[in-house]
Amino acid sequence: MSEHPTTYVPKSAFGKWFESRLPIAGLIHSSFIAFPVPRNLTYFWTFGAILVFMLVSQIVTGVFLAMYYTPNATMAFQSVEHIMRDVNYGWLIRYLHANGASMFFVAVYVHIFRNFYYGSYKAPREVLYILGVIIFLLMMATAFMGYVLPWGQMSFWGATVITNLFSAIPVVGDTIVSYLWGGYSVGNPTLNRFFSLHYLLPFMIAGVVILHIWALHVPGQNNPTGIPIKSGKDAVPFTPYATIKDIFAVVVFMLFFAWWVFYIPNYLGHADNYIPANPAVTPAHIVPEWYFLPFYAILRAIPDKLGGVIAMISAILIWCFMPWLDTSKVRSTAYRPLYKQFFWLFVVVCVVLGWLGSRPAEGWYVIASQICTVYYFAHFLIVLPVLGFVERPLPLPNSILESVMGVQKGGAGIPAGANAEPHSKG
């Protein structure tokens, strides 16, 4: 389905005049209206739209916060409190932005694990997938720098710990760190440049998102069966089917988002960040935001500074090699009985790593982190390559239509009308 149906014909004279000069209406029509969508998509496929919504939400709330925020080490903390207490609805905008970061990561993790489960990363979607990994890395950098801006204790010490990761680089590490700081320690220049970059990066994310969607529209979406669209009967048009379903999912997600914002807005934060930054005292227990915890656990599992940093970075970069590490020809885990068990084991290991990342680095927590870290990498380096050879997948359906409607005798059982107007069931 690499060719979009270009059936768009402008109706008005102005439309024709404009389309012959800038064919954007035709692009929108072929990408978001007539674009063929597999008819069997589940709600797991609505998270892309939810992520676009979260990116827009973060940019809008962030632009308004930047109107009041002061990126100066002596004034940043107070300006955030000023937003909370004095600015009209400042509390709402800041809580939307702070919790929005967490919601963004909730959605992106569902999106990433959906991709893992249904093998969306496999050919021909490797570039699409790697662009997604790049977006995730940009999100992590943006979220980290955003967390520094309130200049509380967790902001300051989070910035110190993370920037010091670069000092592990042999020879040039210390120079790199002083260039990151703009000084001899985390201070005002650091805060200033983090604010600048925190404002810039979301627009870079938006740029890569456009490439991500572009790359998606070449092979089209994967689906729960993992088999491609073979005929028009396997697909429904993007509008109204996917559009309405995406909007509905976004609204449900907004309810979930609102519950955090209005009922427990500080649950995902840390009380220590309401204490102004103090370079002489480290909080008793430094933990990053929840969405970084599995990677933080991997960092601490290695009893060597450089080794820990390399392991943490590799934990994400290894994702880029998944299309080639996974040797199975079958995309969807629904037809891989053995891999299905390993997939869920991997999910459990990731959750346990997250929990361990929130624990102090002592006693058996360290040993458990080490075991989970070894398994994490073994999943990619051993399980994925080996299973492709030893596993016997279940028989795949002949088509998406068959997987939805059941096997029809001779394929003639479906009245033509049913295909012309398919039901919108996911």
């Binding site: 700081w181 320690s185 220049p189 002489a280 500074k305 820990g308 680095a361």
Partner: protein
Amino acid sequence: MAETTTHVAEPTRRDFLYIATGAAAAVGGATLVWPFVQSLAPDAATVAAGAPVEVDLTPIAEGQIVKVFWRGKLIFIRHRTAEEIKSAQDVNVASLRDPQADADRVKEGKSQWLIVYGNCTHLGCVPLGQQGEYHGWFCPCHGSVFDTSGRVRGGPAPINLPIPPYSFASDTKIIIGQEATA
């Protein structure tokens, strides 16, 4: 199709101009990156604020650790007890991760004064004084343990707490940021 270029096997003057222009653009572009990267380095005001500082040791009681700042970096000044000095000296240096004798970490004849940077060499947290197995420091972030000489004895920290440049101006006064001129 109209013939717009004549293909010749020999390099022409135009080929030379292409390559020369391209090379100049590449070098010029690369050169322009330099000021932007350098602008990220500590600026002149920050460097100027990093001048040496004097610290009066008189009010620091035996057994006490005092925190001072130099160049925005935390420095511990520890007035060590006789027992702490002894435990720092009675160590098999070869068994250490970052082998260094206690005598090399203090000024001669001033072994009661230990002056070290106050950020853990792992990821920069502030270790807690008089804690941990060796009653030196213990880092609450990732569990690094330091002895009463500030040497790493456990945990992920790769090296000992570094010694800042300093010198004794008198028996009760040190200048941090300035080594004694011999």
